[in-house]
């Protein structure tokens, strides 16, 4: 429900902005006078994330993630992404890398299955290498400040597990790296329309061509390409702030 509301508000803001007079003193009609070259995008995003660990076939219906952290327990995930736009024509195409951190704490359980006083934690560092396409034609040619985009690429997630603040060992040590593929599909709201002059100054002074708020749907299959083992796949929403540089 919240997500739907967010999208509605984004669309409404976009519509309102499109109706605005866009002329700004000192800028050309497309708002690009004096603009600095643009090649990069920097994104910061936050979201909640529940890894699909308990769906692993070998677990045969057992739910160790749920048992340790609770039913539907989500991890807070923060990510940073840097991409390089190497092709700009009908939209922009780029390559990017991202890295983040997520953690979840719960209580270790005793032999009777009851929670103990000891903490247990799962900590993740998700990383991705992505091909990024941004359909920015609406924003650059038609003054509609919406930029749909899609990202596809490879994902790697380093994980480790602690109990009582030390790495947990149970016949093997609880840490490793899982590989997979990832896709992200989202919509960016270009914020320049809020204050064209400020956006122009931000570009000339700092080199930030455009600023965005965005929301995106993440799909990732991080289970070593289906070969078994810890399944860190997920489906989740992320929201954040982006700058084109």
């Amino acid at each position: 429900m919240m997500v739907r509301l967010l999208w509605v508000s984004v669309v409404l803001m976009a519509g309102a902005s499109a109706a605005q007079e866009m002329k700004v003193e000192g800028a050309s009609a497309d708002g690009s006078a004096g603009a600095t070259p643009q090649r990069f995008a920097l994104e910061f995003r936050l979201g909640s994330f529940t890894p699909l660990i308990d769906r692993e076939a070998a677990l045969q219906g057992n739910k160790p993630y749920e048992k340790s952290f609770g039913v539907g327990a989500a991890m807070l995930l923060g990510e940073l992404e840097l991409s390089y736009q190497f092709f700009k024509a009908f939209g922009s195409l780029g390559v990017g890398i991202s890295g983040g951190y997520a953690e979840k704490y719960g209580k270790a359980v005793g032999a009777d299955g009851e929670p103990t006083s000891e903490n247990t934690a799962l900590q993740l560092v998700p990383m991705r290498a992505l091909l990024v396409y941004r359909f920015d034609v609406l924003a650059t040619r038609f003054r509609v400040p919406l930029v749909p985009y899609a990202k596809l690429g490879f994902a790697a997630t380093y994980f480790w597990n602690t109990k009582g603040n030390v790495l947990e060992k149970y016949d093997t040590v609880g840490r490793g790296l899982r590989l997979g593929i990832a896709g992200q599909f989202g919509l960016m709201l270009q914020l320049d329309f809020l204050d064209q002059r400020l956006a122009h100054d931000f570009d000339v002074d700092v080199g930030v061509n455009h600023s965005y708020l965005f929301g995106e749907w993440n799909i990732q299959e991080v289970n070593n390409f289906g070969t078994g083992g810890l399944d860190l796949s997920s489906r989740h929403w992320m929201f954040g702030l982006a700058f084109e540089l």
Binding site: I97, A111, A156, Y158
Partner: protein
């Protein structure tokens, strides 16, 4: 104008003194880098019975403005500006000595003026070796100084050194209150409250009833919780806490509580016990991290080349 100059001349020593309260602008006495030293009766004889004390003249102190030798003495009271009756004169440091900026003074512990056998009236029957007492002596120093020059009469003030407290402490700290034991995997966590004067705790464990208390952890943080690790699960342990003060005196132990560490299972153990196939390790992905690092380098170098 003349009266203004005279007033400035009169006030200038006061200004200098007002600027000199910190140890940065004071002659200091220290032992082991500290301005306070606690010791027990083990310092009454043997190699510990002589204390080598460091004196330091910071660079901010103008030795040329010190007009008289720095008198150094021991007192069982407050230092004051000059040596008093029942104080023990130790030495005096000349201006030439002070120009070296640092040096040592040796003090004999049994001769401190806090002891009845020191040769001065300490006003008590405490001797070096008496148990259960705490007495403080101070190493003091003072000299006359003048910022107008030592030949100008009437403007000299007393320059006092920052004293060193020498505390004979054979009073043990009070017993701590062992409030509870938290059971963990191979671990017992003791929660406690300590008595005033406790500088550290010895947390001791022993298989229940054995009385050996040979498993020991020293807690210097005194956070209210101390963890005894490396214990065997499913074995009952007696736990007690022994307080230690800054001088090294051990007090009476706390009461004894008994608890049994128990195996617990974190996420990884739950996962593996549930049949999870993951073995851990990075063997499946050794090539990816260098590839990502290479991509970062390419991106950053490309950014620098931009006109």
């Amino acid at each position: 104008m003349r009266w203004l100059a005279a007033l400035a001349l009169i006030l200038s020593p006061a200004v200098v003194l007002a600027q000199n309260p910190s140890t940065l602008t004071q002659i200091n006495f220290t032992y082991g880098g500290a301005s306070e030293h606690r010791f027990t009766d083990s310092a009454c004889a043997g190699t510990n019975s002589s204390l080598q004390i460091t004196w330091t003249v910071p660079q901010l102190v103008n030795v040329a403005s010190i007009c008289t030798p720095l008198k150094v003495w021991l007192t069982s009271g407050s230092c004051g500006e000059d040596i008093k009756d029942n104080d023990i004169s130790l030495t005096s440091l000349s201006q030439t000595d002070l120009l070296t900026r640092t040096g040592f003074i040796t003090v004999s512990v049994p001769e401190l003026p806090i002891f009845a056998n020191s040769g001065v009236d300490a006003g008590s029957d405490v001797i070096c070796g008496t148990k259960g007492v705490e007495r403080t002596a101070q190493l003091c120093g003072s000299a006359k100084s003048s910022v107008q020059g030592c030949l100008v009469a009437g403007f000299q003030t007393t320059l006092q050194a920052a004293p060193l407290k020498l505390i004979y402490d054979t009073a043990p700290p009070g017993a701590p209150n062992l409030e509870g034991l938290e059971v963990q995997d191979s671990i017992l966590v003791a929660s406690y409250a300590v008595a005033t004067g406790t500088a550290s705790l010895l947390a001791q464990a022993s298989p229940a009833g054995a009385g050996a208390f040979d498993t020991q952890v020293t807690d210097t943080v005194l956070s209210g919780r101390v963890k005894l690790t490396g214990l065997a699960n499913n074995v009952a342990y007696d736990v007690r806490l022994v307080p230690v003060d800054a001088a090294g005196n051990q007090g009476a132990p706390s009461g004894v509580l008994t608890a049994t560490p128990l195996r617990s299972y974190g996420f990884w153990a739950n996962y593996r016990r549930s049949g999870g196939a993951e073995q851990g390790g990075c063997s499946a992905a050794t090539g990816l991290l260098p590839a990502l690092a290479g991509l970062i380098v390419v991106l950053l170098s490309s950014r620098r080349k931009r006109p």
